[in-house]
Symmetry: C2
Subunit: 745 residues, 2 copies
């Protein structure tokens, strides 16, 4: 019995000990283990729900009223002091930090006391049909003494007198039609070009190349009005005849005096005479003025594709018809360049586990006038997003990675703020930025989401749009509950109608330098108008009529579309900041490359073959790329999420992929564009071109007098594409394969 007692005591002690060991081992978590556990989990979905709830439409409306209450052109007090300090203070007080970056750069303004105009000049020097020097005030909120009259930035000043010629959209093809098909000599003429289709800077560049002495840009109703010209603003959102589109005609990005280096205190500024600036005077007018000149042109009737919607017979010129046959077109331009300081504001939320990885969100702040659409609809949204995220921070949320918000200055002049900061901070951003998400403006219309992105972000865009409530009640009633549902219905992809279309990134906004210089994967989102209207942009683009009245009365009553954009933007940021493994789809990149190769094959294949050139090396590289992408994808699925270094390794590979498409020598020698797969179209910076180097080499190749040199260039471009894709594939391979590459043995 005594022995039993002892055994019993031993047993009790042993059992207690074992229970203790088990508790100690498994029930009490070591702080490092719980840290590892937390770090291996994606962000809590509750924060996503809270973010969607927190984003208030009414707050965005208030923000828009503040930001677009007064004109805020780059370099102005309102823009660089009032708005900059407002944003900086907001972010300083609600985020983990904020900072202002200054750059002293070349800007351009018209002369407020001596406005630009165009007119008909008679033989004896009398001006008639003088164009409006200011846009007509159609609503009292446009009445502000700081409105800058219509002009095209970086036009040289000058007074030009010459024969008018109508050049349609001013594309290379339009000019070739005039000079080749019609054998017209354009030297010394004043081109009248309508806005639309291509970037206005390319129109002016073409005019210059084909010998024109000056250019007048106007907005044709065909491109900016749907329906009767009586039903325009303020009745509806269509452009009135007195509205003129401002805009830069600079063909490079960033301060033109400091290419590729930042315009900081230590900058070396090139002399204006040594830089590429537009050489012919140019200024914009409205269609009420344009009709006065176009209706009087002589010459043959314009081809049907050249005809706009003015109630006239479109003729080409050159010169005016009787009784104006001895008159000339006069262009009076006082636009001039000025050195000014512009500013970017950065706001920062510090990540908890990977603070040295930045998810970057950006919007520009500067507007041509009130900018209630471009860009303040985006700024209003960004400010609401940062307010909502600051609430989440108060509730205990802390992202895995850091989030960086950028308010860019002087975008309208040529992406100046973002380009200068990327030049200054490229070493930091290039090694730390995970992705760049741009919202230039929140809405150009209220029909459908429009997204541009590199292929690696498509999957994330789809997933995000599915999570965001449809802001259109009619669509919701029709069963399309999410932004995605309307998107895929209105804009099905041409490759797969079960997916919505995602466009390619040109050079139209601040994502350009992120993608083209640093190789950071990027996206740009907004709400867009119905594509059945074949508009060249939203009608009031860059006119004085871009006001809060326009937006709140005619485009987004209640600001629900703005709210949807804020949610999409915020949701993407949350995923990129909080997911353990970056939601990047490298297999989609491979498939896109295959599609591009097929398209290139069918466009150029026969012509190439005639010159004994094939795309085989590119096809082989794309094959390697696909294999490597699938391999990486399978490693993503198997990764041990509790091994932070393994996670980081995979994420680094995903993040590096886009960078591996960057050729430091530039595409076809253009150092502003270094992404070998996508770059802005050589003849239209707004549009993207796939395999841009090859596209450039093949463009109009038949008419090059030096055929041999051109075909050598084609071969070289194909070689660069094949090399770059193979090189990108090698970055996705497992480290044990050393460097990858095609010369295995």
């Amino acid at each position: 019995m005594h022995r039993m007692k002892v055994l019993g005591l031993i047993a009790l002690a042993a059992v207690s000990l074992v229970i203790g060991i088990l508790i100690g081992r498994f029930a009490i978590t070591h702080p490092q283990l719980s840290w590892l556990k937390r770090m291996s989990k994606d962000g809590d979905p509750k924060y996503s729900r809270q973010l969607h709830q927190e984003i208030q439409a009414e707050e965005i409306h208030k923000n828009l009223q503040f930001f677009s209450s007064r004109p805020h052109i780059a370099g102005s007090f309102q823009e660089e002091e009032v708005l900059v300090n407002y944003i900086n203070n907001k972010w300083k007080s609600s985020l983990h930090g904020a900072k202002i970056y200054n750059y002293t750069v070349l800007l351009s303004y018209p002369d407020a006391n001596d406005p630009n105009y165009v007119a008909i000049l008679s033989e004896n020097g009398v001006e008639s049909e003088v164009s409006d020097k200011v846009e007509k005030i159609l609503s009292p909120d446009q009445n502000d003494s700081t409105v800058v009259n219509p002009f095209n930035a970086y036009s040289p000043p000058g007074v030009i007198v010459g024969d008018p010629v109508y050049v349609n959209y001013g594309t290379v093809e339009d000019f070739q039609y005039l000079t080749r098909d019609l054998a017209m000599n354009l030297t010394g003429t004043v081109a009248i070009a309508r806005y639309g289709k291509i970037f206005r800077g390319d129109k002016v560049g073409n005019g210059e190349k084909f010998g024109c002495a000056g250019m007048i840009l106007y907005s044709d109703p065909a491109d900016y009005v749907v329906g009767s010209l009586d039903k325009v603003y303020p009745e509806d959102w269509w452009l009135p005849g007195t509205g003129a589109q401002r805009g830069t005609v600079l063909l490079t990005n960033g301060d033109p005096r400091t290419p590729f280096y930042p315009s900081t205190n230590s900058a070396f500024y090139l002399d204006e005479k040594d830089i590429e600036l537009p050489k012919i005077p140019v200024t914009p007018i409205g269609y009420n003025d344009a009709v006065k000149y176009l209706s009087k042109l002589s010459g043959i009737e314009a081809p049907s594709k050249w005809k706009g919607n003015l109630n006239i017979t479109y003729r080409i010129g050159p010169g005016f018809a009787s009784p104006y046959e001895k008159s000339k077109m006069k262009l009076y331009v006082k636009t001039h360049n000025v050195q000014r300081t512009i500013r970017n504001v950065f706001g920062f939320i510090e990540g908890e586990y990977e603070p040295d990885r930045y998810v970057v969100l950006g919007n520009h702040r500067d507007a041509w006038v009130f900018g209630a659409i471009d860009p303040s609809s985006g700024t209003a949204t960004m400010m609401e997003l940062t307010r909502a995220l600051s609430k989440l921070l108060q509730k205990g949320w802390r992202p895995r990675r850091s989030i960086l918000f950028c308010s860019w200055g002087a975008e309208e002049y040529g992406l100046i703020g973002s380009t200068e900061s990327i030049e200054e901070l490229g070493k930091v951003l290039g090694s730390r930025a995970v992705a760049y998400l741009n919202v230039d403006l929140s809405l150009a219309g209220n029909s459908t989401l429009r997204a541009l992105a590199t292929p690696i972000l498509h999957k994330l865009l789809y997933a995000t749009a599915k999570k965001v409530e449809n802001p259109n009640p009619e669509e919701v009633r029709a069963g399309r509950k999410s932004v995605y549902d309307t998107w895929v219905k209105n804009q099905p992809s041409s490759q797969d109608p079960n997916l919505p279309r995602v466009g390619e990134l040109g050079s139209g906004s601040d994502y350009s330098s992120f993608l083209q210089i640093l190789g950071v994967s990027a996206a740009d989102v907004r709400y867009n108008y119905d594509q059945k209207y074949s508009l060249s942009s939203y009608p009031m683009y860059h006119s004085v009529y871009e006001t809060v009245d326009l937006v709140s009365r005619l485009m987004d009553r209640g600001f629900y579309y703005h709210q949807a954009v804020a949610r999409i933007w915020g949701e993407m940021a949350l995923r990129l900041a909080d997911d353990v493994i970056l939601n990047f789809d490298c297999v989609q990149y491979a498939e896109t490359l295959q599609r591009i190769v097929n398209e290139v094959q069918s466009s150029y294949g026969p012509k190439l073959l005639q010159n004994n050139i094939t795309l085989n090396s590119v096809k082989e590289a794309v094959g390697e790329f696909l294999e490597a992408a699938k391999n990486l994808q399978s490693r993503v699925e198997k990764v041990n999420r509790e091994n932070p270094l393994e996670v980081r390794k995979i994420n680094d590979q995903l993040m590096q992929l886009e960078r591996s498409f960057i050729d430091p020598l530039g595409v076809a020698g253009n150092l502003h564009y270094r992404h070998v797969i996508y770059a802005p179209n050589e003849h239209n910076q707004y549009a993207a071109s796939s395999f841009p180097g090859l596209a450039s080499a093949m463009f109009d190749i038949e008419n090059d007098p030096n055929q041999e040199r051109r075909w050598q260039q084609v071969k070289k471009e194909i070689s660069i594409i094949a090399y770059t894709i193979a090189s990108a594939a090698s970055t996705m391979q497992e480290h044990g394969t050393i460097g990858g590459g095609s010369t295995k043995h």
Copy 2:
């Protein structure tokens, strides 16, 4: 009593439970915790000791016998098949993997059946004093049918007849002396230049620029022999009069037909006529031949600095003196370019925790002839190092990071193998390589360690040299037990005599593209001869006499110096691969920058001031850099080593620092050299230049007819330096400061 019993039982259970909990919590280590613990520790010092022991001098001797048994010029069967396969097989069987990379590139050879020579050509066409067409065999091991006769790679073929001119070392200053001070017209002359001081390619480039029609390169005893000309090889290691130095005269790196892109299957090859190749025929001779021509020159006596150690009166020419006054110098060159396949071999040891970080070690394999010094003394060492490390692997060692071994092909021709691989694999190596450690040759002599490195690696070099046993028994007896002790005694730094001198990296070996294109921190080590001999290189450099006999009999009996180099190389690799925090010294970089600025200030300051230019912006940037470096250093000291992501973040910053000095636009427009702080001297690729862009802009500025343009260039270069240093500083700042930069507000 019963109650007491119950309480006793409870107490027993409770005590057992608590003990159990304590055991479970603290004594039994969770596998993840022990993993974190292991990962937070530097490599076990026992592996360092084992490595030192494992490295066998005798094995290195055997390796050298194998590698230098036969000539192995780039493109030959011995080089690209026998040696490549040997290395590949060794590494495949002993490391974690190996791989061969092929590149088809432009090489150059003399004609074996029609050797190059030079001679005096009389008025009536008779040749006399014909130079040796082959180097004399002085020892039976040199007798091999595959020896390639003396030539300069990439010389065009040609027969040149002209007046001889002695141009000393052929530097820019030498040519300026002839053309400015002596007002000599060099057009059509045959320059006789002595080897040494600067890279031979620069000599030829200068000759071409100053109008010479051809060039003869010879080795003057002043630069390659110490003491009597009777006591040369095979008696001693001095160059005999029949020895000629081979070598490339190409001024660019990599395959000249594919600049900046790899010569893989998909490469686009430029036509030879479109590339930069030397334009004047050139070939080397020994001093036994040179004396025949130099002794017969007419003209004034050469200045004292121009005089070599031949027993003649050095004269300048042009032309021969009586009785040869009507004779000319004839240069007969059959050197020609050929497309050949060359190969690199990579061997790989996979890291345990950070396999995607590579410590890269490299040595070239190709030699001009037997290459027992250059490069096979390095190859023999590398093979012994990999053998020793494979033993460590067997004993359980596994590095934290991966180690990559590179056996480069065609280095002698212009760093071709390494440049092509960096072009092909740059995206992978650029994002993963921690450092590049080069050993071109293990020893040029047996006096002292000679190290070249970027400042960030100096501290590691010192620490390593202190750990390695002094191979010189006399020095050990004198109390200098380590390699470091002799090094600091023989080569004290001019800044701080308590530290040994570390030189700057020019472009003399395969580190060039790592440092200049990718921005990977690099070092190059070897044993060197006593600097009291003012030799231009080790005497037998690139001659047929670089044999195992020379090395084992006259330079390193017992191979203990080789062994020391293997230990230094291996020890550095171990530290870089196994230390939790990279042993990188960013504060040293800051101090070096300060020193450079001071030097530049005292060299150029007054001249700059005369032109209203200051270095203030650079000084300010260096100040920022120093502050940021100290800040990073203090974070290094405080880092939580058990947080792998914090460790990685710091290491990424350390690793990125060198990369942030890279300007993708190249230094002063030269895309082969992109490191803004150090690049090869514009006039001597062997030497490094600090702030090379500025040095280039300032060089001979007084004599530029366009003063304004040159001073603008100076301003631009200063701006780029200031910007680059500030940009580098920003990468070291804590992430919370966003991007850093100088325009804080």
